[in-house]
Symmetry: D2
């Protein structure tokens, strides 16, 4: 029986565990022998690899994070360590890889393929939703719903006083989380790296709203703008309102995977195993325009991710 | 200014409130004058209609159910009552309607259009996901996640003893909720109206699993099969295990709308207003293959809903 | 170093895991060597016992159910099997026991003490809150909050139509869960085994309320009354309302322990270890009138649990 | 019929709404005529007062924040405005007051009593749990469980990498929230205003733990220490670990009231109405050592709140 190894790599995201479980179950059903690599690329080098047992993947569907753990590995950039990783796989009869993670991890495995010819299938997973070529990355729906719960809780308290609440979401280069959260929570301000904002105009709009009877203000700010603290002070001074800051931080990464993340994980995992059985090498599983597909790794890494234009259009009035 | 009235009708579903709010906001932005009809068709007859105020739609994004309430109305089948409803609209200058509900409500408004020529746009909303022509109905994602939380809670306790848990979901004619829940919670049995099941084979499979070390069993059963109580007894006798029944009931209908239901509500509402402004009459907003569209009412009501074939394929092994 | 073994026994309850973790940590701090017995009394007989490692109790604070599993064991009634259990403990140097569970388990260990002189401390844990002598049993607060979430979800949907919702909670002999849930969710009907109810009067009261503008009815029914299905039909016929049944089942047992259950677990565990170090034998830890204490096992098993009179007084108007 | 008015004042807290509902229902049952004052002391001056209707208090049990809103009012310090407030009450026949809030509000109403002889009963509500004389203030249990959910979510992700998480809770002068959260979530560090901490020793302890196999660190910091950002940087430098900050902010104030907060609200409200009917003036309802009682306002305002010694003892090892 051919061996297939499954790993998670890069920043963790909800949906990784269901993807691991489904990849294991479906591989086995298709006559492969599934292995688990723990601690990502580091574990691959250090031989932290074992055949998947029933216990390994039992009761993990509903757990956040990744039970396989993850890591960043500088060593993997060196050929000798990659060779060591390859030897580990060889010894166990593993000649196929599934990696659940981001484009950094996909690139690393692409290099590994160039070196030793071990094909891999990539499953996109990152809460920032910033992997080019796919409309959806595992973890996004869960992250959005974690944010929603925090914002809804703040809203409970918002009407008690006239007050502004500034909420910083994750997203270093990508404002997807902030923007969708702003829309789905009915925020009044949204600042993201991709859209130019105009505080002057925002101020005018809100002063008029406040005169009109508006009680409170909710502002969503993507981490990458570095504007959360500034905006909090700005509101105090310019709108003459008490303003409070919430920095959600890693709260957004955790939480039991939502149904959408579990079902997407299921489908991505089936697609990844099928792709490898079809003889594909180095394809990234994608979901685009409502359909699953496979995209060559260089198509992913050579392109730039862009925020969904429809979302931008729906939310742009919140930036000025 | 032209008047547009928004109503919810039929069984309530999460996502109705965000759809109401977005329809009101977007109508106003587009130069229409939004009205709200309370209590569905009954309120239309009884004149329970008023112009939408800021307060009406403030703070409703995150609330389950429908703040406009709903109803079933026998009277609406009679021309005289429909005429009365029409007069109510006339007096307020309303010549466009948005109805958020199911195909029964769409049909009623189609008849109303034949009588008096008031065009409507329909937004599909029902947790059963059983409206033909659209892949998604508002409320489905929230319902699935409510079920998930219950099943995850049961799973917490499942490993303490060797026990089987039978969980009945909603779905009179449609097994969508049961099937997707079975997949996303890793259930061992799934009985739905659309798929033939074979208890004999299920028994064989599970006896073998139990011998193999399986600890517990989770079974999802759609209400429409009427099998929940029978299966509970059947497991006790045939698998010689303690078995417990949970009937989720209306727990599934409530809950704060998920982000997906809010965003879909937003997009459906924008599409509905745009459709009416484009001069469309009697179109149902749909989401198919990843895209939004508009479908003539007779295309909706003349076709039969079918369970997504991909879901059936993924889950069919749970029925035998 | 003296060995102390910790086990969970009887029906599982949230708070068992935090109690296990705290008992392990605090035992070690006090110079004892903590062991874990898996699968309750059965594991004690079968030697399913090992020294507690950091991994065993890491990351279990927030998990529902019991990671040590539980069981019912007929064999423990026989001297020979108890002797076998005793030999298992002897071999490992265990001469103290902490059992987290209900009065059945406490009795079993009392017998074990009579036989072999191994003292134990009991920590009350059962969601029914029906252990005599203590105002609080681990798991109750979590169960109540799980029920609350379900009832709140039903309430979301309740106002959409005029409808009645009957919700069955756990509680074979004890109506505590149903009664506190009825109070905290503002239900209109509550049927429990301990309080006589009068459907005639309930009917009168509610008909008057419905005439007065009441929209919907929520009824909480304890499993032990066997009245859930009957009441559902009764409402349909006597109040002429659509009525729907929800049977919460094991949903109530699971869920991540609430803060109260974690803190109570912490304090019970500290108290149990201290009691054993003080040389106490066969005491049950209790919480009464706001204070922790230790009660002799026969004081627990000889008395009858009674529903808190204050709760009964607050809720009695819901039974007639 | 005598009029009784109910208001919320000061910072909002979960449990205020159930307290309002229960005070209204129980007042009416006792033959009083309940009124609602909106917007706290400001509304009392401005005459924002009306008789409580069924709709006012229907469906508010499960809502966070306060539907009556709150405010801070400088004007209430001036006799003339208080006189105006008194006249408002007189006109409506109100001669009893229930105020749900903190000691600032209690003091204001005490002054009001000195001026005009209108007795009040105070119900302690503040998430900081810092009102002297009572072990419990409404809102605390809900706040603790909101924090728990955030910390549990962070824990999901914590094991993926070796990382430290610093979480800032509310609490300007009182470390109760941080301390109980640290205990119930198994944190490794806890910094609060009331307990001296020793970063040097914390560093030693954790370096040793990390060498021992510890994966990640969770630190709870009370807002009042102003140490959250400093500690985050300190960990990076001194423990050589990636460290991330979460500032929970007003997330902690919201959320649907837990069962404990609802039941406590119920009992506090009954006690407050009974106290006024017993002819008591200016008593604060308290919960101490497991019992409800009434404490003279000067006993509350003259004493200093102190952190529960038992909690300090259980948690002190986290500060050094």
């Amino acid at each position: 029986m051919e061996g297939i190894a499954i790993m998670t790599s890069g920043g963790d995201a909800a949906g990784m565990n269901p993807a691991v479980k489904c990849a294991v179950d479906y591989s086995r059903k298709k006559g492969l022998k599934p292995f688990l690599i723990r601690n990502g690329l580091r574990g691959m080098i250090d031989g932290d690899i074992s055949e998947a047992t029933r216990e390994d993947v039992s009761g993990i569907m509903h757990r956040g994070g990744t039970v396989l753990r993850s890591s960043r590995s500088q060593r993997f950039f060196e050929y000798d360590y990659r060779k060591q990783a390859y030897d580990n796989l060889q010894k166990l009869g593993i000649n196929k890889l599934i990696v659940i993670g981001g484009d950094g991890s996909f690139n690393a495995l692409n290099q590994f393929y160039s070196d030793f010819g071990v094909p891999f299938a990539g499953i996109p997973a990152t809460i920032d939703n910033d992997i080019p070529g796919t409309d959806y990355c595992l973890g996004v729906d869960t992250a959005l719903n974690m944010i929603r719960q925090s914002v809804d809780s703040i809203r409970d308290t918002a009407t008690s006083f006239s007050r502004a609440f500034v909420i910083e979401t994750m997203g270093r280069h990508c404002g997807y989380l902030a923007m969708v959260s702003a829309l789905s929570s009915g925020a009044e301000i949204c600042l993201v790296p991709e859209v130019e904002y105009d505080l002057e105009k925002i101020g005018e709009r809100l002063r008029s709203d406040l005169n009109d009877g508006r009680d409170y203000i909710i502002a969503m700010v993507a981490e990458g703008t570095n504007m959360a603290e500034y905006l909090t002070r700005w509101i105090k001074i310019n709108l003459n309102m008490d303003a409070r800051l919430t920095v959600l931080g890693h709260v957004q990464r955790g939480g039991s995977p939502t149904v959408r993340d579990r079902i997407m994980a299921y489908k991505f995992a089936v697609e990844a195993v099928d792709a490898l059985l079809d003889g594909e090498t180095n394809k990234i599983m994608i979901f685009r325009d409502g359909d699953f597909g496979r995209l060559a790794i260089d198509k992913v890494t050579d392109s730039k991710v862009e925020l969904n234009q429809q979302i931008i259009k729906l939310a742009e009035h919140l930036s000025h």
